[in-house]
């Protein structure tokens, strides 16, 4: 025979368990880090530096910003924001011009990101790029 009191105590247990569940579950899910582990990454590793072709550029996603990584013929690396300051087109490195060029309206930037010709009103932001133990590492914005 289940007494009223026993039943109430059992229900109290059930209720407490339910309450604990509704508090603990969100907290545990919260503590589990999401796939992208950080708001704004400090660095981005891009693999062995020597494998990056000379006289070429490639666009990487750094956090949510596209960044143009350039390696000149003499082997030096440069990293610039890849969106043109004129109308947001993606820029490209042109080995023949030794400059960064925007196909949309012919805007040109030098390898330090300065707008040197065409419509761009502002320079491109520069990013830090370093070779650490033979690996290419992209750092935060310099400007």
């Amino acid at each position: 025979m289940i007494t009223r009191r026993k039943f109430l105590n059992a229900m109290l247990g059930v209720g407490t368990a339910g309450w604990l569940g509704s508090v603990v579950y969100p907290v545990l899910r919260y503590l589990l880090p999401p796939e992208t582990t950080e708001a704004e990454p400090d660095t981005l590793s891009l693999g062995p530096a020597e494998q990056f072709p000379r006289g070429a550029g490639k666009i990487f996603k750094f956090g949510k910003r596209p960044v143009l990584l350039i390696r000149t013929k003499d082997g030096a690396f440069h990293a610039l924001a890849a969106t043109c300051t004129h109308l947001d087109c993606l820029v490209q490195y042109r080995d023949d011009m030794d400059a960064v060029w925007c196909a949309c309206h012919g805007g040109k930037y030098d390898l330090a990101g300065r707008n040197i010709a065409g419509p761009p009103p502002k320079p491109l932001a520069q990013f830090a790029v370093k070779v650490v133990d033979g690996n290419l590492v992209l750092g935060g914005a310099l400007t």
Binding site: R5, N9, G15, S22, D88, L90, C104, H105, P121
Partner: protein, 409 residues
């Protein structure tokens, strides 16, 4: 003798206290003249030549130190007065064509304006004796000349369409030349006009960007792609490599203008590629391979556009519900990039080239739409989750109340 000249004569013959030694006598006298002369003096205050330390006699000759009008404005003193229209280019050119002289004021200033001017349609006609055409002062003004980078200047990018339009939109003035007078109106409604005049993008082309300034002339058939290609280099490169280039050359088509027009170039949409009403119909018949290519490209671009709009709408709807869809906007920006590139790829006239860009753009747009869908789903999930949690907690509250009653009964 006109009244002005009489006054001038009187003013300069009589001794005057204001006429102190060392003062510029041109200004002293002309300031005492009627409004028209005063206005010239006033506008010359801000003129670039005045700012650089030049004065009336630098252009007009004469001797400003002489209070006597006869002496000051005598041919012996080098006085030349106001030039006739035909004399203006040489009048300005006596300094502006002198590299050695101009270097003193600005080492990088060009000195070929006069030379270019004689190659322009204006210059050619002037040489032939037409005094109605534009000379230096028509665009730069005579006495309030400002450098082109100065927003007050008549030749500042934003003011150029109005400056050219002052003559070219004037039907009476243009009569006899066989020129249209609607260019300025067409331009201001064009994609370039809107960018420059409405959005204030000073990089957008004004009249002179395509026609040249001192050498102003309509671009020839062969040059127009080069003219547009100054800025639209990607499109020009693709077109030049396309099979269309040689055929158009033979037919003497205006490379860009055939499809896009010139003064009234509007922001291109896929209607240009329409099999029935599009520009391709100028040569292609419906159903021929060219028309089919156009239709296919149009289909791809339209599909991309609607995917973009759907994702955009989805993200806005999710945001209206208070959800944070920053990642979705990033993806949509990526889609927009691909869309730009797909539209550019049309100039290769290859479906595959367009297809490639559209595919990557569609993937990005779908990612954005997916983010929006997830956010909306998450929105309802939060409410369901809240409902469950509320039920659980309310249940516990009820049991607690019963427990208290039980304890106290």
């Amino acid at each position: 003798m006109s009244r002005a000249a009489l006054l001038l004569l009187l003013g300069c013959l009589l001794p005057h206290p204001a006429r102190a030694e060392g003062k510029n006598q041109c200004i002293v006298c002309h300031a005492a003249l009627e409004a028209k002369h005063k206005a010239v003096l006033r506008s010359f205050q801000q003129d670039i030549h005045n700012q650089k330390g030049l004065s009336c006699h630098s252009c007009h000759g004469g001797d400003p130190s002489k209070a006597d009008m006869g002496e000051a404005m005598s041919p012996e003193a080098g006085f030349v007065g106001a030039p006739k229209p035909a004399e203006v280019p040489a009048f300005c050119g006596k300094c502006h064509s002198q590299a050695r002289l101009m270097k003193r004021y600005n080492p990088s200033v060009p000195v070929d304006q006069e030379e270019k001017y004689w190659t322009s349609r204006h210059g050619e006609r002037l040489k032939a004796g037409d005094e109605k055409v534009a000379t230096c002062a028509s665009c730069h003004t005579a006495h309030s000349i400002l450098p082109p980078k100065d927003p007050r200047s008549t030749v500042y990018a934003k003011n150029v369409p109005a400056t050219c339009g002052a003559c070219h939109s004037d039907a009476k003035r243009m009569k006899g030349y066989g020129l249209p007078t609607d260019q300025a109106a067409k331009y201001s409604g064009s994609v370039h006009g809107k960018a420059l005049l409405e959005r204030g993008d000073s990089a957008a082309p004004a009249c002179n960007s395509c026609h040249g300034n001192h050498g102003a002339t309509p671009p020839g058939v062969a040059d127009i792609s080069l003219t547009c290609g100054q800025c639209h280099a990607g499109n020009m490169e693709l077109f030049a490599k396309s099979p269309m280039a040689s055929t158009w050359g033979k037919k003497r088509f205006h490379v860009c203008a055939t499809c896009h027009g010139h003064h009234d170039i509007s922001h291109p949409d896929t209607a240009l590629l329409d099999g029935e009403k599009g520009v391709c119909r100028k040569c292609h018949r419906p159903g021929d391979p060219g028309s089919r290519t156009a239709e296919e490209m149009k289909g791809l671009l339209d599909g991309m556009q609607s995917a973009y709009e759907a994702a955009d709408g989805g993200l806005k709807a999710a945001e209206a519900k208070g959800m944070d869809v920053a990642a979705g906007w990033d993806a949509l920006q990526e889609a927009k990039q691909a869309f730009f590139q797909a539209r550019t790829a049309v100039h290769s006239f290859r479906v595959a080239a367009v297809q490639e860009k559209v595919t990557s753009g569609l993937a990005a747009a779908q990612k954005a739409a997916e983010t929006a869908r997830k956010a909306v789903w998450e929105f309802s999930r939060r409410r369901i989750g809240l409902g469950v949690a509320t039920l659980l907690i309310t249940f516990l509250v009820v049991v607690l109340c019963l427990k208290i009653r039980d304890l106290e009964s």
